[in-house]
Amino acid sequence: MHFFKLILRNALRHKLRTSLTVLGLVVAFLSFGLLQTIVGAWYAGAEGAAPNRLITRNAVSLVVTLPLHYREKIRGVEGVKGVAAANWFAGVYQEPKNFFPQFAVDPVPYFSMFPEYRFDADEFRAFLRDRKGAIVGRKLAQTYGFKVGDVVPLRGTIFPGNWEFVVRAIYDPGEAKTDTSQFFFHWEYLNETMRKRAPQRANQVGIFIVDVVDVDRTAAVSEAIDKQFKNSIAETLTETEQAFQIGFVKQTEAIVIAIRIVSFVVIFIILAVMANTMAMTARERMSEYATLKAIGFSPSFVARLIFGESLAIAGVGCAIGIGLTFPVGDWFAKKMGTLFPVFEVSTETVALQLACALAVGGIAAVLPAVRAARVRIIEGLRAIG
């Protein structure tokens, strides 16, 4: 008990210094937590991918489309359970900053492949009946105040013209990683409209989402699909949904790496600050440590006092930092709108914060503790605090 009392009272001895150090730690661990969460959000799409889903796209590039008739050919490949066409729409809602993902999809096969999108059966039926109908995610609906029955106008960019959709259903997440910031509408509506406005662009599909019967045979099915279209005018590249999503992340991997590095640089900086604080603290108390040793306390007791104080300060800073990561993360996610569809502080992030606190507290105390433990008593007694 006296050991912890000494640690606590020593930690509170220079209140201003300790407060400023704790403040620095809070800011560092909060920043670290947020940056790690951003990295996690970047990979959320890949983490939310299902193993039974494959994506078939044009082998040349994602922006090059595939003919619609591929759908039937893919469906005929052995091991394929279902196929859905999908196109990235990229419309503008009111103004360009209001970004959210919009997809034209084959609704029945598509939503049967995504059981993690949970919606009301009646609303879904209403959506199927309405060719201009749309299904929106809960987060998107909350962000822009969309309700069932609302008309959502979008200005086309890839598909020019003004488009109008009616919200017929709102889906909820089935899993923590489910993206509820998306907007879906009928692929047929897109195709019909393009047939009228730009016939040469009709019957063109961005990607096919393929549901496989056996997840252990995804590689074989992918190969079989691509083999079908080998040496055709539009060769395909089929990969798992996760690989497809990671491919997207890889395009911006440099940013992710930079964020990750910055998050650890922040920890390194606070480690230096903390080490300086502990070095000053131990230097000032050298005569006290010498006194303790003189009256019979072991060098390891003195070292443990310093380690304890350092870990206590780092622990408090980390605890407050972790505590703040959640509300600040929520606030940040709201401010970012639908830019990060899934922005959640993960258990791994909290564990990393705790590990960093342990490392900061421990490493910062190493040199002062070793010095205090090794200092000769007579030298320590001469030291001026």
Binding site: H2, T291, L292, A294, I295, F297, S298, I378
Partner: protein
């Protein structure tokens, strides 16, 4: 001071003790060929000019420094060849320290400071409490137990330090300029207290001092000059 007395068997036996320090690549001898006996229950004052080696000799006797040569036995135990860990245990049991600047833990109360050495013993919390209260009563600070050092005068802080020094009933009390930081009145009080522990409790006291008034309280006076004991016979001034 009283007249010359004879004491029982020596509690501190020093034979041909030497000590030197290395300063800037040079070896500086501090103590040379010291031979000295201190009897149990004696009150010895070590005097001498600055740099004469008196504090070094005190540190060696207290086991917080190690000699280069010679033998040093305290209560029959050779402490010159003990390891650091053994010395720490030995000091906890056998030595009570009184420092010039009191060396109290500023974050602990008077009670907690005095209790510190007892944390190294097997005593229970209630036993420790009883011991500490007794010690603080003996130094006249029963009503200051909950005070922090910063709330006490220099004299009171030194009393707390004395209570801490005697709390484990050590074999010897070592005092390095115990009155060096005190005014005249407080210094007299402290010396009276040390004198009392020596006279009434039979504690062996070894004190380093520059102050002739303080030295007069001792029963035995030893002078050191340039690392050499110059009145090894213990003749009183």
């Amino acid at each position: 001071m009283t007249g010359p007395q004879t004491f029982p068997a020596p509690i501190v036996e020093i034979r041909n003790l030497s000590k030197s320090y290395r300063r800037g690549g040079q070896i500086v001898p501090v103590l040379s060929d010291i031979t000295l006996n201190i009897a149990a229950g004696d009150f010895v004052a070590l005097m001498g000019p600055s740099g004469s080696g008196k504090s070094t000799l005190l540190n060696l006797i207290a086991g917080i420094d190690k000699p280069d040569g010679g033998t040093l036995r305290v209560a029959g135990i050779d402490i010159a060849h003990m390891s650091e860990a053994e010395l720490a245990d030995w000091r906890a049991e056998n030595v009570g320290f009184i420092f010039q600047f009191y060396n109290l833990m500023p974050v602990l109360t008077a009670f907690e400071n005095v209790e510190l050495p007892l944390l190294l013993t097997q005593l229970t919390a209630s036993e420790r409490k009883r011991h500490v209260e007794t010690a603080l009563e003996m130094v006249g600070l029963a009503d200051r137990m909950a005070h922090y050092p910063s709330e006490l005068s220099g004299g009171q802080q030194q009393r707390v330090a004395i209570a801490r020094a005697i709390i484990t009933d050590p074999t010897i009390l070592v005092a390095d300029e115990p009155t060096g930081d005190l005014d005249r009145v407080s210094a007299e009080d402290i010396l009276t207290l040390v004198d009392r522990f020596n006279g009434e409790l039979g504690k062996t006291v070894i004190m380093v001092t520059h102050d002739p008034n303080a030295a007069r309280r001792a029963r035995t006076l030893k002078h050191l000059d340039k690392g050499v004991l110059i009145d090894a016979e213990g003749v009183r001034p």
